[in-house]
């Protein structure tokens, strides 16, 4: 494989394209809304109308507006159809052929591709999502795929690649926001006979489905990003660690690896250079803590996914003691565009300290549920009200929750906060991996705090005591508050426990587990106070049983 061959594949793919393309979403969201049957009916209808010469039906990745799925979009007109069912699908094909005005009554609802939900987005990570066929490497190559890898291998030294990533200002998209270039430089500097590159696709935050969509919609982008990273740091083996709950993402990644190997884009002497790189998939088995990098490495090594103290950081001593580069799916998805377009282009997007874009999974009590990719620095208000279309059923938005069980709830009064790593940290939340759940007036904040604490209690690996015991105790205190049996002393103890956990837990799970509680306490103290006050009103004489639990039974 050389550059001419790559261009030839792209050219051939473009020539094979038919004048009209019906793009049908076959990512997980639309598939669970019967998307496969819709695609099949569209194919049958095209065949029945004898339009195969002019029209092709193409399964593509996520078209982003998941709440209106299954979605179908037509090229080149750009018409978008929402909530397509197998029954209404044939009318789309009929409308293509109709010489006069199409029969609007029989057609599925039309979406507006120019609405703010789409128009306000800036797709970099998702640039191919919903456009290319995720199961065909040719489709990715025709969209400019693997050219960045070629450029890195033939026009840049590994040091220059690291330098380029550093200059772009890209920060890790897994949540903590560590500078990607710095991490790469540390691994590149480490001297060892073997090095590894790991893609963290253990997207465990409930309500987050960005990484899944990227893996399902554009898997080759991850492979290309990992290969460039491996070249830059001097690794020859990569692991893509994907949640076991994402069978479709795993399958598409497997297909992608097979296709890339066949074309010589993975394996030995890639692009006829001296660079060898192989990627294996590791399937997670349902443990939230495995999103933590040291726990993830333990899991790859076939052990219980428990974290270990850092330092040493994986960049110095990771898998089997060798230097290991671990980045999130979305981070790897940004690599190829940066190499292709240059660090200056990337650094021009976003804010001073947070460059580029961020993909959010917008869900909860909001009109437009789905994926949005927005430049850093956009305000929460713009995301919720303009892109998201506000709360349905005339409800009032109360808060958004970002960062999942490690993040916090941001009240509507702070919606003018720009979305970047530092501003979100300042208001007591985190960027997180990108889940964004909108809550309206009907959601109790104490319930939400309890929900996340129970989540962390179940997911605590049990290795360190502050997290193992702290989550249980905090969960109990929250139950007590919800039941209207708590006192001010309990509130005090809860705050003390939170601090203890933050300061003494071994890994990020325990350190950040109090975040949802503390942020709701900070912004919605009246909801806690109300529950405390109710107790006094209803049971003024009730004495709390202070005996240890065992004696009470």
């Amino acid at each position: 494989m050389d550059l001419a061959e790559l261009h030839a594949i792209a050219e051939h793919e473009r020539q094979m394209r038919k004048p009209i393309r019906i793009r049908c979403c076959v990512a997980a969201g639309c598939l669970s809304a019967n998307g496969q049957a819709v695609k099949q009916r569209l194919e049958e209808s095209v065949a029945a109308a004898g339009l195969q010469e002019r029209v092709e039906v193409c399964g593509v990745g996520c078209l982003r507006l998941c709440s209106r799925g299954p979605l179908v979009q037509i090229d080149p007109a750009g018409a978008l159809y929402e909530n397509v069912t197998p029954e209404t699908a044939p009318a789309i094909v009929t409308a293509l052929d109709a010489s006069g005005a199409p029969d609007e009554a029989s057609l599925p609802a039309r979406g507006d591709p120019a609405q703010p939900f789409f128009a306000r987005q800036l797709p970099i990570v998702l640039e191919n999502s919903g456009i290319i066929d995720p199961e065909r490497i040719e489709s990715y190559i025709a969209a400019g795929g693997y050219q960045a890898l070629y450029r890195a291998l033939h026009e840049m030294t590994p040091g220059e690649v690291v330098e380029e990533i550093t200059r772009s200002g890209l920060r890790g998209r897994g949540g903590a926001g560590y500078l990607t270039g710095l991490k790469w430089a540390t691994v590149a500097k480490s001297v060892a006979e073997r090095k590894f590159v790991v893609c963290n696709g253990d997207e465990g935050d409930p309500g987050a489905f960005m990484d899944r969509s990227v893996l399902e919609s554009d898997p080759h982008r991850i492979l290309e990003g990992m290969a460039i990273a491996a070249y830059a740091v001097g690794a020859n083996q990569g692991y893509a660690y994907v949640r076991g709950e994402y069978p479709l993402a795993i399958r598409r990644l497997e297909i992608a690896i097979r296709q890339a190997k066949k074309l010589g884009l993975l394996g030995s002497q890639i692009f006829e250079s001296a660079f060898d790189f192989k990627i294996d998939i590791r399937i997670g088995a349902g443990a939230f803590v495995c999103g933590e990098e040291t726990a993830l490495m333990a899991s790859i090594e076939g052990r219980r996914g428990t974290p270990r103290p850092r330092p040493p950081y994986p960049a110095e001593s990771g898998l089997w003691g060798y230097p290991t580069l671990i980045n999130n799916v979305e981070t790897f998805a940004n690599i190829a565009p940066i190499i292709r377009n240059g660090s200056g282009w990337f650094a021009a997007i976003g804010t001073e300290k947070s460059k580029g874009t961020k993909v959010f999974a917008l869900a909860g009590k909001i009109r437009n549920t789905g994926l949005v990719e927005v430049p850093m620095g956009i305000t929460l208000r713009e995301i919720v009200e303009e892109l998201g279309g506000g709360v349905p059923d005339n409800g009032t938005v109360k808060a958004v929750q970002t960062g999942g069980p490690s993040g916090g709830c941001i009240p509507a009064t702070l919606f003018d906060t720009p979305v970047d790593y530092d501003s979100l940290a300042q208001v007591g939340s985190i960027m997180g991996s990108g889940g964004m759940i909108v809550m309206d007036d009907s959601t109790s904040m104490v319930d939400i705090a309890h929900y996340f604490m129970e989540f962390c209690r179940d997911e605590s690996c049990g290795k360190c005591i502050p997290c193992r015991v702290g989550t249980v105790q905090l969960g109990r205190l929250l139950s007590k508050i919800r039941a209207g049996q708590a006192t001010q002393a309990d509130m005090q103890r809860m705050k003390e426990l939170c601090r203890m956990m933050q300061e003494t837990s071994l890994c990020g799970l325990g350190q950040s587990a109090p975040n949802p509680l503390l942020s709701t306490l900070r912004y919605f103290p009246q909801e806690y106070e109300q529950l405390l006050a109710d107790r006094v009103e209803h049971d003024p004489d009730q004495q709390l049983d202070r005996r240890p639990e065992l004696e009470r039974q």
Partner: protein, 174 residues
């Protein structure tokens, strides 16, 4: 004969029980060169083949990968995905992701727990239904979501959910 050497399982040891699934498991372990690192991959395969991981099966894997049984048991019990008990005839998993929770998944779960008479994570005594919860299916666009026998159904209401589950109890197997 050249064809005999091409058979992948030609030398795989057969399990005394004569169960063919052990042959497939053996092939998986062989492909991984019996590396202890491959334990999780092997457990995935074993659960896929047998439906759950019995103690006997775990011991067999421990022996094959030359790992102490405690290590295999430790890993199998650590990860939620692995089940050490057989599942019921049908499964119903209520998604408890944040988006589903905000849209009332807890009410759905309480209703189906009441109807089935078992708590989440348990199987009814007649082995007809296993009631499960899911962390997040990533199907937040159609919240609240429930998985019936592996098929995701979105926009669930208590009525629709109970009707579906009651159908299983009334119609017997099917």
């Amino acid at each position: 004969m050249p064809s005999a050497t091409l058979k992948p399982n030609a030398n795989a040891t057969t399990h005394p029980s004569g169960d063919n699934r052990f042959k497939i498991l053996e092939a998986t372990m062989k492909r991984q060169q019996y590396q202890p690192d491959a334990l999780i991959e092997v457990l995935h395969k074993a659960q896929e083949l047998f439906g759950y991981l019995s103690i006997g099966l775990l011991l067999h894997i421990a022996h094959s990968l030359k790992l102490p049984p405690s290590r295999v048991y430790g890993v199998a019990t650590f990860y939620h995905f692995f089940s050490l008990a057989p599942q019921g005839e049908h499964t119903c998993a209520v998604c408890l992701g944040t988006a589903c929770y905000v849209k009332g998944a807890a009410t759905l779960l309480a209703a189906v727990e009441h109807a089935a008479g078992v708590k989440a994570g348990a199987t009814t005594p007649d082995k007809r239904l296993s009631l499960l919860t899911a962390r997040c299916l990533g199907a937040c666009g159609i919240a609240p979501a429930v998985v019936f026998d592996g098929t995701v159904a979105g926009h669930q209401t208590t009525e629709a959910l109970l009707e579906h589950v009651k159908g299983w109890f009334e119609n017997g197997s099917g």
